[in-house]
Symmetry: C2
Subunit: 348 residues, 2 copies
Amino acid sequence: AMAAAAAEVSNKRVVLKRHVTGFPTEDDMELVPATARLAVPPGSAAVVLKNLYLSCDPYMRSRMSRHDEPSYVPDFVQGEVLTALGVSKVVESGHQDYKPGDLVWGMTGCEEYTLITNLESHFKINHPELPLSYYTGVLGMPGFTAYAGFFEVAKPKKGDYVFVSAASGAVGQLVGQLAKITGCYVVGSAGSDEKVNLLKTKFGFDNAFNYKKEQDLTATLKRYFPEGIDIYFENVGGAMLDAVLLNMRLHGRVAVCGMISQYNLEQPEGVRNLFCIVAKRIRMEGFMVTEYYGNYRKFEEEMAGYLKEGKITYVEDVAEGIESYPTALIGLFYGRNTGKQLVAVARD
Amino acid sequence: AMAAAAAEVSNKRVVLKRHVTGFPTEDDMELVPATARLAVPPGSAAVVLKNLYLSCDPYMRSRMSRHDEPSYVPDFVQGEVLTALGVSKVVESGHQDYKPGDLVWGMTGCEEYTLITNLESHFKINHPELPLSYYTGVLGMPGFTAYAGFFEVAKPKKGDYVFVSAASGAVGQLVGQLAKITGCYVVGSAGSDEKVNLLKTKFGFDNAFNYKKEQDLTATLKRYFPEGIDIYFENVGGAMLDAVLLNMRLHGRVAVCGMISQYNLEQPEGVRNLFCIVAKRIRMEGFMVTEYYGNYRKFEEEMAGYLKEGKITYVEDVAEGIESYPTALIGLFYGRNTGKQLVAVARD
Ligand SMILES: NC(=O)c1ccc[n+]([C@@H]2O[C@H](COP(=O)([O-])OP(=O)(O)OC[C@H]3O[C@@H](n4cnc5c(N)ncnc54)[C@H](OP(=O)(O)O)[C@@H]3O)[C@@H](O)[C@H]2O)c1
Ligand SMILES: NC(=O)c1ccc[n+]([C@@H]2O[C@H](COP(=O)([O-])OP(=O)(O)OC[C@H]3O[C@@H](n4cnc5c(N)ncnc54)[C@H](OP(=O)(O)O)[C@@H]3O)[C@@H](O)[C@H]2O)c1
């Protein structure tokens, strides 16, 4: 009976029109007008989510390609709605632990409403007094990435020299601030003078530079780190990694978070200076934030505390409306975002 | 008085004629006839060593170049005698802890006799009942490299899939045998069918292949490791590393021991598949055996035990006479050695 009476609402969705090679374009996606029924199948534990904020994340680029062998994240399906991390409100629920009005974050559809049959990998939002959109960033996946990558992988010590690339982004701005809290010296690189300014004035980096203006990254890093680098928080890969390797200190650590400069290349660039790993006994270690999700609550409390005490600040780049999702996502690969890129689909 | 009476003996020595670029040649070195006085400066703690076995090691290639910035090992000086690891006998001693007849291993001159003013970094030989030449290999630096790199850096578990490159060499043959002792599955690569045969029949590798006969190393490794590689003991770098990265398993470890395929190149090759480090959460870690020397005695006892019990076997490639040193050293970079390359300068 309930099902029959369910409201039907407009549900615009972003669909993958074709698999991508090279840089993604707006033509690779399509905004499709559709409708959603605000009801769950009777007897199921499904919920209907109203999506408030959708996250644009670099890893999604991999999902837009078609891979012959399974990639580390599954490919999007041509003709189907994209999925993304988002902050959502439960509007209908067949699950005993969720009731309408509950706020969650996790994987949802790039659309206005999403029926989720299994909420198991969603987190309830414990700090709704903070901006809800923060759960796409500082209190969500990118924030936890900075935290786990810096503390668990890079293992900083007070006084360490830390370098962060893509430093003004969703992850990078937090790595820099966590490094300062830990008593490290931290320098960041970013792709515009405006971002460099933000790093130095707002995020408290000790120094920062615009990598697009540098001719010789090896020499640049030598200027910023005359004593060398203890920790490199790697977000970009390619030429920057090559330059960093030459500037690492003995027993340096490279926390390999991502390599965004390589995501749109048909063939990745070659990195030549890997012998430095032996000569300087470097540890280079990749990680995936999802493997740390068991400790998410500890992080959420700690980070919420920092935010409330004003010890950490967060910059977001908010695009308005589901229609803006394709442009916002593509923008990541041109550095058009300043801070965490997200899309406000609805405010509540 | 003693000094006046000291015997003067012939002391042929290998001198660096010029710094090297590209592959080293015999013309880069010179065999110089010289003499040595078998005496130590009165009142000094110096000793005169008679060099019995001299080791040829790949790291020496770096020392033969002239570097503008200090390299991880100091450059050899043009016109001066090379230094190398060796097994030596004390023939004169001003040091209270050493007497004529004592056997030691450590850094010495590439010559017949060497005056050492500071023996601090030499080790006394505790197992002279085993072949003395073993202290250039299985009981010396390369043996300890295999041991420390495998156990301390790669951190193997029973059942791990292990791949070793340059597998028949001084280090590699031991990594394979230690892997078998640990209960791992181990495959090695080497540069000739004869070496491949040795790996399978003498050293107990589960499988082995001749990398020079393979067109597509990625496909080759996929054949030998259908489940993927847990541990790569990296001795060669370049194209092999690129192929390995594509074949690593989740949470795989690359113990980066050396990259001999790159040592003679003017510009190192580019390695393209580094994003695998993120996608598969790989730890890639370099090490230097010298940092483990504090635990050498524990290793020496354990390895001497394995040798006596027949649990580990060791193959050496012994060139005769100091005259053969340049050719033997150069041969490493063409794979001319089968097993540990050393030079027998004197038998006692
Ligand atoms: N391992 C994990 O679990 C995990 C989780 C989340 C994110 N990540 C990775 O972390 C990195 C940062 O992600 P994020 O979410 O914080 O993104 P972000 O930094 O907010 O946005 C991406 C930024 O990358 C920079 N960029 C784009 N193309 C570049 C290029 N060719 N060379 C250098 N920089 C380039 C741009 O900034 P500029 O203006 O400075 O160029 C752009 O703003 C990415 O590599 C991502 O894949 C990994
Ligand atoms: N980190 C440390 O503390 C430490 C200590 C000792 C040694 N090492 C490193 O360990 C590695 C092995 O040293 P080792 O003493 O055991 O030497 P080795 O394996 O006994 O001799 C070198 C071997 O390398 C192989 N090789 C030469 N050029 C090659 C190329 N272009 N591509 C692939 N393989 C090539 C040859 O075997 P094939 O016939 O199989 O090609 C050659 O026999 C070297 O990289 C060395 O620098 C590191």
